[in-house]
């Protein structure tokens, strides 16, 4: 048996999925490797068409991988039909049974598992309490609102106490306020039930706020797996840096490399930049700096404390809590700085000359 880190609920090993054949073949997933730990809130994040939903469908059993293994606590389940997997799904459109009541929907899984009636009834009540829907027990699912349907879908999927719960963009149909509310609700449910959640979304903010760990996917590949902090602060590739939050890309020359950092020159300025794991760059490289990790300095004649990096403000955009300053760098290129308005520091205006002071440790070299 291939090694599997202890405590890993789902191990995805070299999974590929190809749709069609011959010249029409489309590779939806290419040699994906992911370990999802028990009791973890794990998110598959990526734009539409990146393969995240395909991967979820393979874990659920609605489709089968072309190659590779999917292990659930060590057992390969890749070829099992969905009704033999102790895994339940919350569907994007909820897929509640329209001819059943809320209670019948929630009890369906347990009924199919052949549990005694008394146990099912007790579990339905427990689930209704968990999602705070007691008073709607005997309603038809067509008689409740979208947010309520969402809760019923969750209760239905949690009722059989699956080992893993899959959530396919379950919040995308809700309006902004309800979505925020349900994000907290999902975190609470995951905490209270202790079930491993695998959440699929294209919304990077949703991924950052809810997940223990995130896998960023693009074009059928997993680009980076890590905590929200890792993914945001230490993006390894251009796609990840670009997809998650806003960032500045700068061309750099690598002049020295040690264990975890590189010395790079950016437009005459020398910076220490962090390196992706196991990456030893040489020659030209791309460096990223998040907009909140740079501070503006007036005048810019001496070009800030680190020297060298500066330019002219071309645009100032006010966002309420913070303001974005767009700067045309001397020697070409653009840079954006985000300043919190509460800092109370002097405001800058379009046309001002400024120097940039980069926070120590903020710059990162990309694997590209």
């Amino acid at each position: 048996m291939p090694e599997q880190p202890s405590g890993s609920a789902i191990a995805i090993r070299q999974v590929s999925k190809v749709f069609g054949s011959g010249s029409d073949a489309v590779t939806a997933l290419a040699q994906v490797d992911i370990d999802i730990r028990a009791n973890e809130f794990f998110t598959l994040l990526g734009p539409s068409g990146c393969g995240k939903t395909t991967l979820l469908r393979l874990i659920a059993g609605f489709d089968y991988p072309t190659t590779g293994e999917i292990r659930l606590y060590g057992d390969d389940i890749a070829q099992l039909p969905p009704y033999r997997r102790p895994i339940n799904t919350v569907f994007q459109n909820y897929a509640l049974f329209p001819h059943m009541t809320v209670a019948q929907n929630i009890g369906f899984g347990l009924e199919m598992l052949g549990r005694p009636k008394a146990e099912i009834a007790a579990r339905i009540d427990e689930m209704l309490r968990l999602v705070r829907m007691e008073e709607l027990k005997n309603r038809r699912t067509s008689q409740i609102s979208g947010g309520q349907q969402q809760r019923v879908a969750l209760a239905r999927a949690l009722a059989p106490q699956p080992k893993v719960l899959l959530l396919d963009e379950p919040l995308s149909a809700l309006d902004y306020k309800l979505r925020k509310e349900m994000q907290l609700e999902l975190k609470r449910l995951q905490h209270e039930t202790g079930i491993t959640f695998i959440f699929v979304t294209h919304d990077q903010e949703e991924a950052l706020t809810m997940s223990d760990r995130i896998a960023v996917m693009s074009k059928g590949r997993v680009l980076q797996i890590g905590t929200a902090h890792d993914i945001y602060d230490k993006p390894a590739e251009r796609f990840v840096a670009n997809f998650i939050g806003e960032t500045n890309f700068l061309d750099a020359e690598v002049t020295g490399v040690d264990a975890a950092t590189a010395t790079v020159r950016v437009k005459g300025t020398t910076l220490q930049a962090g390196l992706p794991e196991g990456f030893r760059p040489a020659g030209k490289a791309t460096v990223v700096i998040r907009p909140e990790h740079a501070e503006l300095e007036a005048g810019g004649a001496d070009r800030g404390t680190l020297g060298g990096l500066g330019g002219v403000i071309t645009n100032v955009v006010f966002f309420g809590t913070d303001t974005h300053y767009y700067i045309a760098l001397d020697g070409g290129g653009d840079f954006m700085v985000r300043r919190q308005n509460s800092r109370g520091t002097a405001a800058f205006a379009s046309g001002d000359r400024v120097g940039l002071r980069i926070d120590p440790g903020a710059a990162r070299v990309l694997r590209d």
């Binding site: 659920a60 059993g61 609605f62 039909p81 969905p82 009704y83 033999r84 895994i87 339940n88 799904t89 569907f91 459109n93 897929a95 509640l96 049974f97 329209p98 001819h99 369906f108 899984g109 199919m112 598992l113 038809r140 067509s142 239905r156 999927a157 059989p160």
Partner: protein, 270 residues
């Protein structure tokens, strides 16, 4: 309410008048037929007074009883067999991976709708004559049930298939996800959700069989007179309002069947 587009027919001049004319042409003859069914006189175009006399005469007529019994036996049998077959066909054609012959199969099922009925009638007649001549087999009223089943299938198939195609496939996935094996998924989710389509299909098949004339006329043997054939035979004698009464009864049965199926379908959907 939706915004009225520039092509909304209701805003065109003369729409109301054309609509009224159409309604008049469609329903005036039927209305006249119904009115004369309660005529007390014995001439179908001459009004003498209100009476239910001809309904009594019709209901007391043994030939009418036998025709009604034949019609019901044939229509109910053909409806049940055709609906079962059409249901299986619809499931087989919407819940499988697309295969090469799918388009051809769809055409074969619906062909009876396109073949002129008289052609089907002649073909069915020669077929049963062949079976009787070569194999010595005659199924009696079974011949009519077989013939009716065949042309009822596409009528039953259409609404069932439409219903299955409209159904959200993730519902069946959700059932499988919740530990329902294929048979349970079908019994607990697919079947209850497709029932409105099945009821519509049944109603259509019943009505089509109930009032079929051309094929029945050619295939029916002695003692296998159905209601439409009975009415046809009546018209060849001096016509009395009894024929209006029988026609009205037929019409009422049709209306009851269609209304009942629509009501069941609506309640199921809610």
């Amino acid at each position: 309410m939706a915004e009225r587009g520039p092509l909304d027919l209701k805003t065109q001049p003369g729409f109301g008048k054309v609509a009224l004319l159409c309604l008049f042409l469609l329903y005036a003859p039927i209305l006249i037929l119904m009115i004369f069914s309660v005529n007390s006189g014995s001439i179908i175009t001459h009004w003498e007074g209100v009476s239910l006399h001809w309904y009594g005469a019709a209901l007391a007529d043994d030939d009418f009883h036998s025709a009604a019994r034949n019609t019901m036996v044939i229509a109910i049998s053909a409806t049940v067999i055709a609906t079962l077959t059409a249901t299986l066909a619809a499931i087989g054609m919407t819940r499988v991976k697309p295969w090469r012959g799918l388009g051809a199969a769809f055409m074969v099922i619906n062909l009876p709708l396109m073949v002129p009925e008289i052609v089907t009638a002649i073909a069915t007649l020669s077929f049963f004559a062949l079976v009787a001549g070569k194999l010595g087999l005659n199924f009696g009223i079974g011949n009519l049930i077989i013939a009716h089943t065949v042309f009822c299938i596409p009528f039953a198939y259409m609404p069932i298939r439409a219903r299955l195609e409209d159904m959200d496939l993730t519902l069946e996935q959700a059932a499988a996800d919740l530990y329902a094996p294929p048979w349970q998924t079908f019994r607990r989710v697919t079947l209850p959700l497709m029932m409105p389509g099945v009821f519509s299909g049944m109603a259509l098949a019943f009505i089509v069989s109930f009032d079929d004339f051309t094929i029945t006329q050619l295939v029916a043997g002695p003692g296998q007179t159905t209601l439409p054939l009975y009415i046809w035979n009546q018209t060849r004698r001096p016509m009395t309002p009894e024929i209006n009464a029988i026609s009205t009864i037929l019409l009422l049965i049709s209306i009851i069947v269609v209304t009942a199926s629509a009501l069941i379908a609506r309640r199921r959907k809610a």
